[in-house]
Symmetry: C2
Subunit: 399 residues, 2 copies
């Protein structure tokens, strides 16, 4: 099953046992799961994954669950990678791909983090989980917590998508709205955690959510026959996905399963909330709190990510970049990809279309390169952004 | 690739070439695709499907596309089958499963029909498709038509889910709302088809949509190691899914790929629109037009299905049944499955939970039988049905 061996602080390197519930390191750094990669290299042939039932649990050796019975699954992972020929032609790219995370349970890549995070919580005997969320993670964790019979407490901004609010609610999570940003919701949860002893599952405050996100990187490598594409663009809020893909890359490299090619990782944000882009441009190792964060893209509206230094490291070490897009370009991008590729994606994903156009113009991307846009969720949750004034016919009318 | 051999009328048996666009038979009956099953039996080993990339195009030998380049895919099919242990326990069933079609592109099983229907239209050189829809099929076909560069005209009831309206619109379909039922939209489309020469893709008015739906049956058989479960429950509007599963069963049987076990097929409707249930109970071979059809379940609100005789045949020959549920039980079922299994399903799917409870009480189902509920779509599109009055906290408040 799992080759999990210990947990390590991403900042100071301190090691922890994986047999007990863990949050942050005593130094305040986020903790990462480490595996016995040497043993995997000896005993596991990567061709085995294709023979297993679909879903991210195919990669169980590289996931942190010790006993199969603890896996809480709703059929997540193995989302399609679609070649976007028509959109590519419009933009001027010959090898453009979209990985569509909207085909996960709860319609978002958050399901990857939730399946692993909740499964590990179950394995460790945790009874109550609490988390702040922009909306989607709360909906996803509520679904998995319901199946696992674990109590969940979530707090999200009052203007979080109504669908995510209802998702969390109907799955039985204790759901609170907060008159503020996700960082304010985070403070309320952190206080409750201290006073009630709940387990804190905020972004990167537990080591396992990122392990689920990591599987996006493994799936991309496997799809391209264990090579990586040239560039992967990722809409960056908390940044767990881009850190996860970077972690997958490092593990696959150490396993000798991939070649030397490094994918350039591009963190995409909106001008309305761009702390990572600012820090990248200013050559800083950590970001500064973005005051007055405002964007129609809820998932990117994270003023200060706890894993900012890891995002910046992944971007720099992969020779990638960080780029912001205009708020006004986001809906236009959403429309463009729907009309050309038939994909109704989330606004977070739509930022990537605007970003790839910008990077092609700047010369960072060449037209022949293999580019993957990582669309993090379905647009079905965001149709309130679409205005459609449709003609109404009466019985007997003709078109 | 495909072993398609000819097209046959389901009513009078008349044969047609598959090389030209086809709608209904001259007798008015719907047309079905027939394959050279003898050749498949000789040349294809069913274990091959597991080795292929995931998605319903794994079963290409049993699908009607001749050339791979004509396949228009957004990653549909191979949806998860989830064992519902907690819900089963509440209801009193030991082997309850849910096939979750919400994990298809556009969030519904309609994507299966659309990928095959649009691909075949592309192969046949069709430029403009028109169809009436309750909403979801329109959204799905719009997505695939956009990718295929085929013009699509859809007409749907004015009270079709707003999300489906916007889905069709943003993907570039010419979208009309109709002040009436889907049958009224059907008349307007039929008139336009006559006058403009559009290709009519209404339910069962072209032979290929059902081929996509058929793959649900193949996937279920494969999941249970090429046996069928005891009972499959299916929410029935136009009924293409249940006919498709029945067709899959017959083809797999003729291929010798499955054992003798016949799954009982159960057509589930709502008391607000129950023409199939009425016809079944009255021993009739066709249904009567249901006047004053009214239900919160849009996909079931089909007053008279063109394939009603096939649905009734499938139900009777499989020793299944047809059952209606109370409108008031539907939302309760939606809540129950979310709280127990973490699945936010569509109201169509929720009718199955109410139906399975009813059939267990009546003795039609035994507690040890393997039961599959075929949830046809995601509940994300129907959160307007959920009422959630959530507490609002201010900065500094405590939980």
């Amino acid at each position: 099953m799992s080759y999990l061996s210990f947990i390590e602080c991403a900042k100071c390197g301190e090691k922890y046992s994986s047999k007990i519930p863990l949050n942050l390191c005593h130094c305040g750094g986020p903790l990462l799961a480490r595996y016995d990669l040497k043993a995997i290299k000896e005993k596991v042939d990567k061709s085995i994954f294709k023979t297993r039932n679909k879903g991210l649990w195919r990669f169980k050796e590289l996931l942190p669950i010790e006993e199969e019975k603890n896996i809480v699954s709703l059929g997540e992972g193995d989302t399609p990678i679609i070649q976007a020929k028509k959109l590519g032609k419009v933009i001027g790219l010959e090898n453009l791909y979209i990985k569509d995370e909207g085909l996960n349970p709860t319609g978002t890549f958050k399901a990857r983090g939730a399946t692993v995070g909740v499964s590990k919580a179950k394995e460790l005997g945790i009874k109550t989980i609490a988390m702040p969320t922009a909306g989607n993670a709360g909906g996803s964790w509520a679904a998995y917590a319901a199946k696992a019979d674990i109590e969940l407490i979530v707090a999200m901004p009052q203007d979080a998508p109504e669908i995510a609010q209802k998702e969390a609610f109907i799955c039985g999570a204790k759901t609170y709205l907060v008159n503020g940003l996700i960082s304010d919701a985070g403070k309320i949860i952190a206080d409750g955690v201290k006073r009630h002893g709940w387990f804190d599952a905020a972004t990167l405050k537990e080591p396992y959510r990122i392990e689920g996100k990591k599987t996006m990187g493994i799936e991309i490598a496997e799809y391209f026959n264990w090579e990586f594409p040239d560039v992967i663009l990722y809409p960056t809020g908390g940044g767990v996905g881009i850190i996860g893909i970077w972690k997958a890359f490092q593990e696959l490299k150490e396993l000798g399963w991939i070649g030397d090619k490094i994918p350039k990782l591009v963190a995409v944000q909106s001008e309305g909330c761009n702390p990572i882009v600012k820090a990248y441009e200013e050559g800083k190792e950590v970001s500064e709190f973005c005051t007055n964060a405002s964007s129609i893209v809820g998932g990117i509206r994270v003023p200060k990510a706890i894993g900012d230094f890891l995002v910046l490291k992944a971007v720099r070490e992969s020779n990638g970049t960080a780029v912001e897009v205009k708020e006004t370009d986001i809906l236009e991008s959403l429309n463009l990809i729907a009309r050309t590729e038939g994909l109704l994606i989330c606004p977070e994903g739509a930022t990537l279309v605007a970003a790839v156009i910008k990077l092609l113009k700047s010369g960072f991307i060449n037209k022949g390169e293999k580019i993957v846009l990582l669309n993090t969720g379905t647009g079905i949750k965001y149709t309130s952004l679409i205005e459609a004034a449709l003609p109404v016919l009466n019985i007997g009318d003709k078109i």
